[in-house]
């Protein structure tokens, strides 16, 4: 288990020297990472680069990892699959494990924010893929997280739904000001949503790239081109030169 230490004020999430090996294969070989309050960091990497492994370690789901990790207690996770309990109605899925006063009102507010106030009594099986993923976001939001850990949350959605969800994420982030670690393999998604992009390669953070573009962003913004090229280069994708 990676040791969990108390973080200081300027960094919300901190990882230092995180290592994880599966048998003889070392996936993470001393990863250092820091996320400030309200900062959205995209974590890019090729298939099997260990980006999901790192997120699982931060989420406290990997007891085998070593190194030090500090994540605030007020964190929530959204996975690639919605992972809703099929035997609980939408409202009970959102409220799973939530305690404290006026839970019902908080659940209703979270569902309204993702545009699903009218589906509170539905079973997960009755929802479309996009709706189910929005419920998963409501389940995260209702916990009032200071940091969201997102493991390719839009990866299983069709292209149109993905665009709408990315837009929704941008609006939620503007309203709540949470920090987020967004694991993705989509360079455009990273540039659209993140303040900073990290590339994981060879078990370490191989590249760090600030994304200084005004919000709201669109993939045809003039600033996108050079950043996209730089990231794709680092990810080993050959570029076509005109």
């Amino acid at each position: 288990m990676a040791a969990r230490i108390a973080g200081d004020v300027s960094t919300l999430v901190r990882a230092a020297g995180v290592r994880r090996a599966f048998g003889a294969t070392t996936v993470l070989d001393g990863v250092d990472l820091a996320i400030g309050p309200g900062e959205v960091v995209a974590l890019l990497g090729g298939s099997g680069s260990g980006k999901s492994t790192l997120l699982r370690i931060l989420a406290g789901l990997d007891p085998e990892a070593t190194g030090t990790v500090s994540v605030p207690r007020e964190h929530a996770v959204v996975f690639q699959e919605h992972r809703l309990m099929p035997w609980k109605r939408v409202t009970d899925n959102v409220g799973l494990g939530v305690s404290g006063g006026n839970v019902r009102a908080r659940i209703a507010a979270a569902l309204t924010e993702v545009g699903l106030a009218d589906r509170a009594r539905s079973w997960p099986a009755e929802l479309s893929g996009g709706q189910a993923q929005r419920v998963a976001f409501a389940r995260a939001l209702v916990r009032e997280p200071r940091v969201l850990l997102l493991d390719e949350p839009f990866g299983a959605l069709d292209a149109l739904t993905r665009l709408k969800m990315q837009d929704l994420f941008g609006r939620l982030r503007a309203r709540h000001g949470f920090a987020a670690l967004l694991v993705t393999h989509d360079v455009d998604e990273a540039l659209l949503l993140a303040d900073r992009a990290l590339v994981l390669d060879g078990g370490r953070i191989a590249e760090e790239l600030p994304v200084r573009l005004e919000h709201p962003r669109a993939p045809d913004d003039p600033g996108f081109g050079p950043l996209r090229r730089q990231l794709l280069d680092r990810l080993g994708v050959p570029q076509r030169h005109p």
Binding site: L84, K88, E126
Partner: protein, 272 residues
């Protein structure tokens, strides 16, 4: 002209795809026909009343025994045996199945002997059980409990093992502790399998009861049948068979209703 043509059309459509209500009635046709044939064969003397009495005779016998309280008292005795055996075997199966399904050490210690014992046909244990616990009430209850234990144990175990690990992880990230995860993820996730196990267990309970009640019994439906056989009262023997069948049918129906209520989420799409 149209008034004549319209009903013909409706009938043609119904013949192609009969509705569920119509089909249910249609499924009653052959059992009723068999019953009528049986009655007719008895009345014209093809079936000897000593070998197989007419359904009407069996019904009359049932009415007589119900009226003088014999049937009710013996039914209650049989039901009590089944219930006590079900309770003992069920609690043991749930406890051991859950321990083996949830804990690695439980799996290592409990599962191997249960897997080996499963190969023994439990009804063949009657001679041994008689030596161990005698021929009294405890033998019957032990037999029922044994019959109940295996199907329920295996389905509890499988139900827990088949739960999607990703849901357990999601529950953990939602801050659910061990007990909350048991209550909100493991139990509801294993419930479909538990219901299947319970249905098989109840079937095994009736079967064990039939066999158990044939050895030195002073009461119960089985006693009623064994006593009737000695006096060649075939109608009572057939009545006993009908009662056993009715009990099985009724318990299955009851369980299916319960299942529909508890597993409403599985029919989510049809429910709305």
């Amino acid at each position: 002209m149209t008034a004549v043509a319209a009903p013909v059309e409706v009938e043609a459509a119904a013949a192609v795809a009969p509705g569920p209500r119509r089909r249910r009635w249609r499924r009653l046709v052959s059992p009723v026909a068999i019953l009528l044939l049986w009655q007719a064969l008895s009345m014209i003397g093809v079936l000897s009343p000593d070998k197989l009495p007419a359904p009407s005779t069996v019904f009359q016998t049932g009415w007589r025994l119900a009226a003088d309280g014999t049937l009710g008292a013996n039914l209650l005795d049989s039901l009590t045996r089944a219930a006590v055996g079900l309770l003992i075997g069920g609690v043991l199966a749930l406890a051991l199945g859950a321990a083996a399904g949830l804990l690695r050490v439980g799996d290592d210690i409990i599962d191997p002997p249960v897997q080996m014992a499963r190969m023994l046909p439990h009804l063949a244990l009657v001679p041994l059980l008689i030596i161990w616990v005698g021929i009294g009430e405890s033998m019957k209850i032990t037999l029922v409990a044994l019959g109940v234990f295996f199907p329920l144990y295996f389905n509890t175990y499988a139900g827990i093992r088949d739960i999607d690990e990703r849901l357990v992880e999601a529950a953990r990230t939602c801050g659910l502790g061990t007990w909350a995860r048991l209550r909100h993820v493991i139990l509801p996730g294993a419930l479909p399998s538990l219901f299947l196990g319970l249905r098989l267990a109840i079937g095994a309970a009736w079967l064990s009861l039939v066999v158990g009640e044939q050895t030195n019994t002073q009461n119960g439906i089985g006693f009623l049948m064994m006593e009737a056989r000695e006096f060649s009262q075939t109608d009572v023997v057939v009545l006993g068979l009908f009662v056993y069948a009715g009990l099985g049918l009724l318990s299955d129906l009851l369980l299916r209703m319960l299942e529909r209520k508890a597993l409403a989420w599985r029919r989510g799409l049809q429910a709305t």
